[in-house]
């Protein structure tokens, strides 16, 4: 599907054509819109990408904690595809980046084991005409709100891309013998601790690798999500997400905050 991926649906083209004529759509609030204008960007359109993925099954050993690499790969590729398609829509509009990106997973009744991964956001373009594409020549993406985008730019940082890493891990069931052995005691279970600990560290390492590819100096707003999807309670996906940023100027133009007393209510 990778070749067809660039051929966006025909309806998309029509919608994007209209957008090129100057009309724009965005899911920005009024405040966000004004702040984005203030830092010299103009919204060019609401963009999205989606991918319906069959996540398949991987056998798990009842009593063993391990990473389920096939599932990890599937979850990662599906999101990556959705993101790439969104970036393509943005590139088609000549955008420099996408702000306010949301990544969602939907399950439908008609598709057992199939999940739809969606990425949506608002494409923006710099008004001074200078390209703000990232190191890979793609529009930058970020899950920052308009307010956050403004604030970040004031600190001399520029978003490079929404980066993520994932790890699907199966956590061992405890055998009856093990359970009986510790009955009546509150004890640490080092194997459990290690398994979960490692899964999260792996997800975060993968996220950081993506950031390094973008030549980013760091990642802000890292979130770690844990989802069991439809696999039962012992198989967990650890997903870490954040916005990779790089320092573009040493000026911090952020004004010193002032203390206020709100007189509302």
């Amino acid at each position: 599907m990778s070749e067809e991926a660039s051929e966006l649906a025909r309806t998309t083209e029509h919608r994007l054509e209209e957008l090129e004529k100057g009309l724009f759509t965005s899911d920005l609030s009024v405040n966000e819109f004004l702040l984005i204008k203030e830092v010299g960007f103009h919204p060019v359109g609401f963009v999205m990408g989606s991918s319906i993925y069959h996540t398949g099954i991987q056998t798990r050993k009842w009593g063993q904690s391990q990473e389920l690499t096939k599932l990890t790969e599937a979850m990662y590729n599906a999101r990556e595809l959705a993101m790439t398609r969104m970036e393509e829509e943005a590139a088609e509009l000549g955008a420099d980046g996408v702000v306010g990106v949301r990544l969602d997973v939907n399950y439908y009744e008609w598709g057992k084991d199939a999940a739809e991964f969606i990425a949506v956001g608002t494409a923006v373009k710099a008004e001074d005409g200078v390209s703000r594409l990232n190191k890979l020549g793609k529009p930058f993406t970020s899950d920052l709100s308009g307010q956050d985008f403004w604030t970040l730019l004031q600190t001399g940082y520029m978003p490079q891309g929404l980066v993520m890493g994932t790890c699907v891990y199966h956590i061992a069931h405890r055998g009856i013998g093990q359970t009986l052995g510790t009955t009546g005691q509150n004890v640490e279970l080092p194997n459990f601790t290690q398994a979960l600990y490692e899964a999260r560290e792996l997800a975060m390492t993968r996220m950081q690798d993506e950031a390094t590819q973008l030549g980013a100096t760091g990642i802000v707003g890292v979130r770690l999500e844990e989802k069991t999807h439809q696999w039962g309670s012992h198989t967990i996906e650890f997903l870490s997400l954040g916005t990779a940023v790089s320092k573009t100027s040493d000026d911090i133009t952020l004004a010193k905050p002032i203390t206020i007393i709100s007189l509302d209510n």
Binding site: L152, T212, I252, I261
Partner: protein
């Protein structure tokens, strides 16, 4: 995983990467830079603990019945007995009630929390952090086998041009402007403090009737509104216990930004657990109070 530290090897690889990661929101990140703190990495620590019962986190020494006092097994500091004033003997009627502390739960919690915290601090140490800001902690249940996982994470920060710290990093739940204001007011963060207490309530006959709202006319002195003495007393005791154990961790420092969460769980009729968790920030004065500029009054136009 090296046995003493409990921090997996992958963690060290991750933290040695050249780019930083931070769990701070953009506004907290900006405030951090403004204070002269440089985020160096998101650090985390975990600990999975098996609790005694697969059904609930709080069944303690198993196998006692209403005829034995669970307090004898609990060896806690707090116990209170409630005798039945009616002199009735029947299988249904509760002859006595008891409030008692459940130290084994407090110990499990402390063990899990401390291990996770120590591991987070170790991660921060490996990257030479001076402090950890914006700490978040959480307890979640894994599977159905009574396993609880304690997790603590935060963003490690460094003060540029300062030599690497000789002792462990300071830690705080605060981040962004809330931290900036504390420092502006002349305080430095020392450490996060947190504690739990657990009080179990076995309702006496009077408490049971009052809680149920039935049988009032039969057993209670009159039908006016009355205080449910046993529950009130248990809640007060639980709060006092958790406050005392947090106070014991202060070592003469001050406590700021305290948050109290009380969880109540009813295992069965007339059998409940009160479990408050108290969190706060240990802070220490480093300079005299320098009055903040007078705040400006604002009104929103929306």
């Amino acid at each position: 995983m090296t046995e003493q530290s409990g921090v997996p090897d992958v963690a060290e690889q991750r933290l040695s990467a050249s780019s930083f990661s931070s769990g701070l929101s953009v506004s907290d990140f900006a405030a951090c830079l403004d204070m002269g703190l440089e985020p160096v990495g998101l650090v985390q620590g975990f600990c999975a603990v098996r609790t005694t019962s697969s059904l609930n986190f709080g069944n303690g020494p198993a196998g006692f019945t209403r005829s034995t006092s669970p307090y004898q097994l609990s060896s806690g500091d707090y116990v209170e007995n409630y005798q039945c004033p009616h002199g009735m003997v029947s299988g249904e009627h509760r002859m006595w009630g008891q409030n008692y502390q459940q130290p084994w739960i407090e110990n499990t919690w402390r063990q899990g929390f401390t291990n996770a915290f120590t591991r987070m601090v170790k991660e921060a140490n490996t990257i030479g952090a001076h402090g950890v800001v914006g700490v978040l902690d959480n307890v979640t249940r894994i599977g159905q086998e009574g396993v609880l996982e304690f997790s603590i994470r935060g963003t490690a920060v460094r003060v540029p041009k300062l030599p690497a710290p000789s002792s462990g990093p300071w830690t705080t739940y605060l981040a962004g402007q809330r931290l900036a204001k504390i420092i502006e007011a002349g305080y430095v963060p020392v450490s996060i403090v947190a504690a739990v207490s657990s009080v179990r309530v076995w309702a006496s006959c009077i408490t049971e009737y009052l809680m149920e709202g039935s049988g009032m006319t039969m057993w209670a002195q009159n039908s006016d509104s009355v205080e449910v003495e046993q529950i009130v007393s248990a809640r007060m005791a639980a709060r006092a216990l958790v406050r005392n154990s947090v106070r014991a961790q202060l070592h003469g420092d001050q406590l700021h930004g305290v948050e109290l969460n009380i969880r109540e769980h009813e295992f069965a009729k007339g059998d409940l657990e009160i479990q408050p968790v108290l969190r706060g920030n240990r802070i220490r004065r480093f300079k005299d109070f320098d009055p903040l500029p007078a705040p400006r009054l604002t009104v929103r136009l929306s």
